[in-house]
C-alpha cells in the first residue's frame, strides 16, 4: 500500500478552538511532512519529522505542534484556530532523502 491517509478529509472548526489532524502511512517511511496549501499559493512547509526528530519552520514555530507516536502516524495540532488557518493541509512521507515523496489527499480545514 503506497498511500498516505489523512483524516478527516474535511474539518470545520470554531475560532479559538483546537484542531487535531491525523496522517498515517504503512510504507515504513522515515520522514513525514505537513504542508499548508491555500488557493493560488505554493504548498507551505509547516514542519516535518525525520524519524523522531521534529523540525519546525521558523515562521510557523509557535502556531503548529505535532507528534509522531510511532513510525506510521503523525498528527498536526493547532491549539487555537484562527480564520487564517483555513486551508488545505497536506501530509506527505518519504523513505529517505532524494526519493519520491508520497502525498495524501489532504484535509480541508475551514475555521469559522
Amino acid at each position: 500500500d503506497t498511500t498516505v491517509k489523512q483524516n478527516p478529509r474535511y474539518k470545520l472548526a470554531r475560532v479559538g478552538k483546537p484542531v487535531n489532524l491525523i496522517c498515517s502511512q504503512t510504507m515504513n517511511h522515515d520522514t513525514m511532512y505537513w504542508y499548508q496549501k491555500k488557493p493560488n499559493q505554493a504548498p507551505k512547509l509547516l514542519l516535518f519529522y525525520y524519524d523522531k526528530i521534529l523540525n519546525r519552520e521558523a515562521d510557523t514555530f509557535e502556531k503548529f505542534q505535532s507528534s509522531r507516536p510511532n513510525n506510521s502516524f503523525c498528527s498536526l495540532y493547532i491549539g487555537s484556530a484562527g480564520l487564517e488557518y483555513s486551508a488545505m493541509y497536506l501530509c506527505a512521507s518519504r523513505r529517505q532523502t532524494n526519493t519520491e515523496v508520497f502525498f495524501g489527499k489532504g484535509t480541508r480545514l475551514t475555521v469559522v
Partner: protein, 116 residues
C-alpha cells in the same frame, strides 16, 4: 535562501502541441529538483526528479525535464501534449536541514489546460 519560481500561473495549448512549463530555483548548493502533478480531486503525484548526472531526466507519463545550471532552471517538457495532461504542475527543490532530514520547497504551480 531557497526558493522556487514558476512564472506562468496558467498555460493553455492545443492537443498535439509541445508543452514546456518553466521553473527556476535559487539554492546555494547542488540542487535536487522534482516535478509533481495534481489532477483535480487527487493528491500530488511524483513525475520525475533530478539528483545528479544527465541534465535531461525522463519521468512518468512521457514527461522529461532539463536541468540547466547556467540559468538555474528545470523546465518540464512533453511532446505531443494530450488533453489528459490537463492538471496543475508543481516544481520543487529539496533543501538540506543539517543532517536531520531534508525539506521540499514548492513553487506556486502552473495550471496546464490542453484543448482537444
Amino acid at each position: 535562501a531557497q526558493s522556487v519560481d514558476q512564472p506562468d500561473a496558467h498555460v493553455t495549448l492545443y492537443e498535439g502541441a509541445s508543452l514546456e512549463l518553466r521553473c527556476s530555483y535559487s539554492y546555494s548548493a547542488a540542487p535536487y529538483l522534482f516535478w509533481y502533478v495534481q489532477y483535480p480531486g487527487q493528491s500530488l503525484q511524483f513525475l520525475l526528479k533530478y539528483i545528479t548526472g544527465d541534465a535531461v531526466v525522463k519521468g512518468t507519463k512521457g514527461f522529461e525535464a532539463e536541468f540547466r545550471k547556467s540559468n538555474s532552471s528545470f523546465n518540464l517538457k512533453k511532446s505531443p501534449a494530450h488533453w489528459s495532461d490537463s492538471a496543475k504542475y508543481f516544481c520543487a527543490l529539496e533543501g538540506g536541514y543539517g543532517g536531520s532530514g531534508n525539506k521540499l520547497i514548492f513553487g506556486t504551480g502552473t495550471l496546464l489546460s490542453v484543448k482537444p
